[in-house]
């Protein structure tokens, strides 16, 4: 595992270690050239590619047998041209930005409030005992069940949807931060104490870093669930966004827009999760998680 990443700052401990390192480099099987590695990575996508091709063929040639297929199952190429069309009109970009803005704002707020709350609950048993009943009372209510009430409170608009996403993302963030702070290795806490750490120092140097992987897991899950809640919220009531776009396309009978919206939602979810994982690697170089 140490050999995986070359670390130029580490000087070899001795000439013998230097020799051993050279020998290891000489014995190691040569790395395949870059184009080969790229090819093998692309090759993993053959099933997806085949799926898209079959879909395209069924959709295009199927229309000769059943004309309804045009609407029921728009071809991938039709979806691409729909994307181009909407992009040219400038609407697509607005929908994407509106959706991203809402989810990032809501998950950001859930993180800002949920992480400290969860850590405090994990850190102090008494605080946990106080807050737990309220939290466990609200938590089982699905965020979507809040939609009617939240429309009364906030009207139809950004605030209402942000509130729904916030509710969806808040609990996974709190519960994972709680677990992270509660399950800190007792020996690390003791090591900190016996090396002279005061309570506050113990929190910043031991509890917080130990809980960081759980915190990230919580935010990742929150982001995923929040993204789903966003779409659900926008489907029900929204002035814009990808969910609104899908629902609007339904009333216009534009199934190519619907499919485009679905694909974009999936792709953006994937991108957000990828960015989260990159942030994890940056924030925790010591943690090689799965």
């Amino acid at each position: 595992m140490a050999a995986a990443a070359p670390r130029p700052e580490v000087k070899p401990a001795s000439p013998a270690a230097d020799d051993a390192a050279r020998l290891a480099a000489a014995l190691a099987p040569p790395r395949p050239p870059a184009w080969r590695r790229a090819l093998s990575r692309v090759a993993n996508f053959w099933l997806l590619a085949a799926f898209l091709v079959v879909w395209e063929l069924v959709s295009v040639y199927g229309q000769r047998i059943n004309p309804q297929l045009d609407v029921m199952m728009p071809a991938p190429t039709t979806v691409v041209s729909a994307a181009a069309e909407l992009a040219k009109r400038g609407v697509l970009f607005t929908h994407i930005v509106d959706s991203l803005y809402r989810v990032l704002l809501a998950v950001g707020a859930a993180t800002l409030l949920g992480v400290p709350l969860g850590l405090a609950m994990g850190w102090s048993k008494r605080f946990r005992a106080t807050v737990d009943p309220l939290l466990e009372f609200v938590r089982p209510i699905p965020p979507l069940a809040w939609i009617p009430l939240s429309i009364l409170w906030f009207g139809i608009g950004d605030a209402q949807i942000v509130y729904i996403i916030f509710l969806a993302a808040f609990f996974p963030v709190v519960l994972n931060s709680l677990a992270g702070a509660r399950d800190v290795d007792i020996y690390l806490v003791r090591a900190g104490l016996s090396l002279g750490a005061r309570r506050r120092e113990l929190f910043t140097t031991v509890v917080l870093p130990a809980a960081l992987p759980s915190i990230f897991t919580g935010v990742r899950i929150g982001l995923g669930i929040g993204w789903m809640a966003l779409v659900a919220g926008e489907l029900v009531a929204a002035p814009s966004g990808l969910g609104y776009m899908i629902n609007n396309a339904r009333t216009l009978f534009r199934s190519d827009y619907i499919l485009l919206g679905m694909v974009l939602i999936g792709a953006l979810g994937l991108v957000l999760d990828f960015l989260m994982r990159q942030a994890m690697r940056l924030a925790m170089p010591w943690y090689h998680g799965k």
Binding site: A13, E201, T205
Partner: protein
Amino acid sequence: MSARSSQVSVENVSKVHFSLKGEPLLALQDVTFCAENNEFFSIVGPSGCGKTTLLNLLAGFEQPTRGELRVGGELISEPGWERAVVFQEYALFPWYTVRENIRYGLQRKRLPAAEQRRLVDHYVGLVGLRGFESRYPRELSGGMRQRVSIARALAVNPSILLMDEPFGSLDVQTREYMQDELLKIWQREPKTVIFVTHSIDEAIKLSDRIAIMCPRPGRVQEIKRVDFARPRDPTDPAVVRLAAEVKRWLRQQAFAEETEPPGAERALSG
């Protein structure tokens, strides 16, 4: 620095633990001993004899139910760097590099940065980890991790070093090497060492005196002095004789324990 007394005294200490069902268990009963200034004092005994509990009390992680523990005449009330601990499973901070782990206690002591650098450098060299300062613990072998842990404990200049089976999870060669290194360090920078182990050979190789403990309830049965000059040869007839004597004696104890209570107890210890 050496002016402060690092005598460790344990007087009539009893400790009650509670089982998961809430039943009280006597983990330690009337334990009394005194480790002198700069003495290498080992505590041996089978698992469940309370030796780790005793170490936790000395570290200040737990408080005794009855009795008193003192360092240099002062009651132990909480953990502190003057009693640094080396744990069996190292307890290194995974998010800190070797350098940062060793520096941890120095930062808590608010030492000037230059002093911190000097001390870290000194102890990295002392435990032979030069070149590995920027590695994370997970990138090191077990023996190297334990050396970091020892360096981290020594760096704060404790008057007492508490070691809880520090070499228990190392392979035989590494363990012997680490024992030799520990002795060298101890002779160069004398301090009182309280060394918990279940290995009688290890205790005889290292210690000035050995407290032998027995389980149920945990208590000190006997304190033996080891007078042979260091370094000790494990094949020296006198050393072999002492080891055999202690082992035979411990076996008798275990045997007596097993035959006394009825069947269920025997099944547990077998």
